[in-house]
């Protein structure tokens, strides 16, 4: 969810549901592919789509352009190292190319390629979800779900209210941590101590979360939330021709990539 006022750019003007429905089959396809071409093509296509279609802050653009290859390289290396050499087909490309060697363990080109394929698939799924993620605000999504998909508004708007709890809990957790430090209690090290420490933080956090949720619920009810089966929508979320075109283009692009791959 991107914060602040809706930014210009054609992605932001699309219905959030279109931005989810378009890339969704591609995400499914990426999960079931094993080659390098399909995820690479979809990853690149969605990156271009985001950069062209969403007006982003400079640091987001930088993170996308620089961060994507770095993350792919890191993931590819770690997955490659974890690949069981016994399960690599000796005829696979690169199986004889040794990139690194420790004792009788060999990191081969084939292992790296397997890791790269896994890395590309993960990053491609993330990039496809960012098409909607970087161009949609929470309220927009809720409006589309409620108005176009007929999700009950009680669920949609309650979820939106609950989202506001998250930063509050983050801050509260910090205060509780400081308070516990002041008590001069250390549970020691190791996993058992970690569990005890976490439980010690969870109880006050939960107690205050429940109290806060009750108060918010009372305040919402006092303002007629849920009084009627529907509520006034000041902003209408429309499903336009452009949305259908976007979805069809996405699907057509996917078919083209699959055929080419």
């Amino acid at each position: 969810m991107s914060a602040g006022a809706p930014r210009p750019g054609f992605l932001a003007r699309l219905n959030p549901l279109a931005k989810i429905a378009g890339p969704l089959p591609a995400m499914a396809a990426v999960i079931f592919t094993r080659d390098l071409f399909v995820p690479s093509a979809l990853l690149l296509a969605s990156l271009v789509l985001i950069l062209v279609g969403a007006r982003l802050r400079a640091w987001v653009v930088l993170a996308l352009i620089v961060g994507t290859p770095v993350v792919i390289a890191l993931l590819a290396l770690s997955f490659g190292v974890w690949t069981d050499p016994a399960r690599i087909d000796p005829d696979a490309p690169g199986a004889t190319v040794v990139l690194a060697e420790v004792g009788d363990w060999r990191f081969t080109g084939a292992a790296f390629l397997i890791g790269l394929a896994a890395a590309l698939r993960i990053v491609a799924v993330v990039m496809l979800s960012l098409i909607a993620g970087l161009s949609t605000t929470g309220p927009e999504l809720v409006r589309a779900l409620v108005q176009n998909l007929r999700v009950p508004y009680r669920i949609g708007y309650t979820a939106l209210a609950a989202l506001r709890f998250v930063p509050r809990f983050g801050h509260e957790l910090e205060v509780i941590r400081a308070a516990h430090r002041v008590r001069g209690v250390e549970h020691g090290r190791g996993p058992i101590a970690w569990v005890r420490r976490t439980l010690g933080l969870a109880i006050p956090l939960l107690a205050s979360a429940i109290r806060h949720a009750e108060r918010v619920a009372l305040a919402m009810d006092a303002r007629a939330f849920g009084a009627h089966p529907t509520r006034t929508e000041r902003i209408i979320s429309r499903w336009r021709v452009a949305d259908a075109v976007f979805v069809v283009l996405c699907w057509a692009g996917l078919v083209a990539v699959l055929l080419a791959g």
Partner: protein, 582 residues
């Protein structure tokens, strides 16, 4: 019983209402009969636990529909029985503002927030916007309609909550302690809005408020509940507060400070008739007298700490600057020098964001301070380990629950003794002593989270002192509490202080400061403007310089034309005393 025309039907009519919470023995409130008429401003008073808040929840049907409680008798809103109608329907007749401004925000934008209620009422979109605009303009937030509510101050968020209630277009507005979580500036903002609403007479207002000094000049009618939740008085505000002040004080109802001052003067033979309700009335009544007895010498207080040169200070701060959020964070405390002698009761006051909490946290080692800038009894708290520190200074956070670690009260105290090289028998003895000292003996096996608010607070002070710390630091200990609990806490701090503990407290409640602190430090914009004996500080220019408002008694006395000797009178204890308690 009320001044309204008998022909106008009441907006809200309560008939013999009793509300029993699930699991509670007796109903509170108990047998309330009361009508609210158009344009009336009704103040509901009563001691803690008398069911005032519960009563407000019954006015729009949250009791019994949302809150598990049994209701007897009938509550009618615009003629509708609340037990038969859902809250959603009743909310277009009665709008609510709650105590906690943070727990009323649903959306991420001020305008959307105000629109939320009317949207739920299925009001057409154009009318929603018109209502939102009107409401936001009335509370002065129209310019900020595109902001995230989180970016408003506490007072701003509470004004937003009032705008949200106004946008419901209900003829009745119910406010349950709307200023309990606000600093003085926020309280003023909210009351400026309420005063305007009260003057317009478009709404009936039902107000629960402990801070009578802020509320007294805008209410028409006062309804008083006793400790058991029974209706004991209902009548015009002025007349009732003036004629039955003693009875109300006896009930545990907090009266305006000016009235309390006049009652104390009466005991000393200075009879002000009628009793004043506001600082202005008190000032006028005092100036109307040709002569006044001299203010009392304060000999009941702990002996003033010896001059700083004679003793080593308990806390010594030199050139302290503090940044929030790491090395790049903003500087929140600038170059502060401060000495706190042993046995002192020091209050640190200042407007929001003045850096008082950061200063206190740096003193107690909660925030890291640069090496050598803070010394607590020979220890640098930022560099000592937690055990070592807990033997010198105890810190109490605003919410006591944040500090609880154990599953029972006794264990909670014991936790603080771990690793202090004591035998089991010695530890047991210390825990027993603390349980008795803080009146928690009977509750030793109780889970700390199941204690009442006041008990939690006592336990948190106990845990801060259990390791033998001679210095106690408290951050806004009275925030969000009613006056009765706040007074109870201050009395406890007073007695801990009398036993020799140095107490440092950060607060924005200047009348509490005036009545309890020996010395006061004033902060603004991260700097220490000055520190001195409380009476001198409150009578001097620092309070104005820091952008604070003088406490009610000081406001009454500092402008007296005929009695310059009284200009320094800021606390009740300085008033001439009667023979009975001399």
């Amino acid at each position: 019983m009320t001044s309204a025309e008998p022909s106008v039907p009441p907006l809200v009519a309560l008939d013999d209402v009793r509300i029993t919470y699930e699991g509670a023995g007796a109903p509170t409130p108990d047998g309330i009969t009361l009508d609210v008429h158009p344009g009336e401003v009704v103040l509901v008073l009563g001691p803690s636990g008398c069911g005032k808040s519960t009563l407000t929840l019954a006015l729009n049907g949250l009791v019994p529909h949302d809150v598990p409680a049994r209701i007897e008798g009938t509550v009618r809103v615009a003629g509708l029985d609340t037990s038969e109608r859902p809250v959603g329907v009743l909310s277009s007749h009665v709008a609510m503002v709650f105590q906690d401004p943070d727990a009323q925000v649903v959306t991420g934008r001020v305008l959307d927030e105000v629109a939320f209620g009317p949207e739920n009422q299925l009001v057409p979109a154009g009318e929603v916007l018109a209502r939102a605009e009107r409401a936001l303009k009335l509370v002065g937030l129209w310019e900020r309609r595109d902001d995230d509510p989180d970016r408003l101050s506490g007072g701003g968020r509470q004004r937003l909550a009032i705008a949200c209630a106004l946008a419901m277009a209900s003829p009745v507005l119910v406010l349950d302690e709307p200023t309990a979580n606000l600093d003085p500036a926020g309280i003023d903002e909210v009351y400026a809005v309420l005063r305007e609403l009260a003057a317009e007479r478009d709404h009936a207002i039902v107000l629960v408020e402990h801070n009578l000094d802020a509320a007294v000049d805008l209410v028409d009618r006062v309804v008083v509940l006793d400790r058991a939740g029974r209706l004991v008085a209902d009548g015009p505000a002025d007349e009732l507060l003036r004629s039955r002040a003693d009875e109300l004080a006896e009930l545990g109802v907090w009266l305006p400070v000016s009235t309390l001052a006049a009652m104390r003067l009466r005991d000393a033979g200075v009879v002000l008739d009628p009793l004043p309700l506001t600082p202005a009335e008190l000032a006028a009544a005092l100036d109307a007298r040709a002569e006044l007895p001299p203010p009392a010498e304060e000999h009941d207080r702990a002996p003033a700490p010896a001059p700083a040169s004679a003793t080593t200070p308990a806390v010594r701060v030199r050139g302290l600057s503090v940044r929030r959020g790491g090395r790049r964070g903003p500087v929140v405390v600038h170059d502060v020098d401060l000495d706190v002698p042993p046995g002192d009761f020091l209050a640190i006051v200042g407007a929001n964001g003045a850096g008082k909490t950061s200063l206190l946290q740096a003193i107690a080692g909660v925030l890291p301070a640069p090496t050598g800038t803070v010394d607590v009894l020979g220890l640098d708290p930022a560099r000592a380990d937690a055990r070592e520190r807990s033997r010198r200074i105890g810190f109490v956070f605003q919410n006591p629950e944040h500090q609880f670690l154990a599953a029972s009260v006794a264990e909670e105290l014991d936790v603080g003794l771990r690793g202090h090289s004591l035998t089991a028998a010695e530890r047991h003895e210390v825990v027993e002593r603390m349980l008795r000292r803080f009146g928690l003996d009977a509750l030793r096996a109780q889970h700390p989270f199941l204690l009442s608010g006041g008990q939690k607070r006592r336990l948190s002070v106990g845990t801060a002192l259990v390791a033998g710390a001679p210095v106690l630091a408290l951050d806004e200990p009275t925030f969000g509490q009613d006056r009765e609990r706040a007074a109870e806490l201050l009395d406890m701090l007073r007695s801990v202080n009398d036993e020799g503990t140095t107490v440092i407290v950060v607060t924005h409640d200047l009348q509490l400061v005036a009545d309890h602190a020996t010395r006061t430090a004033v902060m603004a914009d991260g700097r220490l403007l000055g520190v001195g004996p409380t009476a001198e500080v409150l009578a001097g220019p620092l309070i104005d310089q820091a952008g604070l408002r003088h406490p009610p008694l000081a406001r009454a006395t500092r402008g007296l034309a005929r009695h310059p000797a009284w200009h320094g009178v800021t606390r009740l204890a300085q008033l001439p005393r009667g023979r009975a308690d001399a």
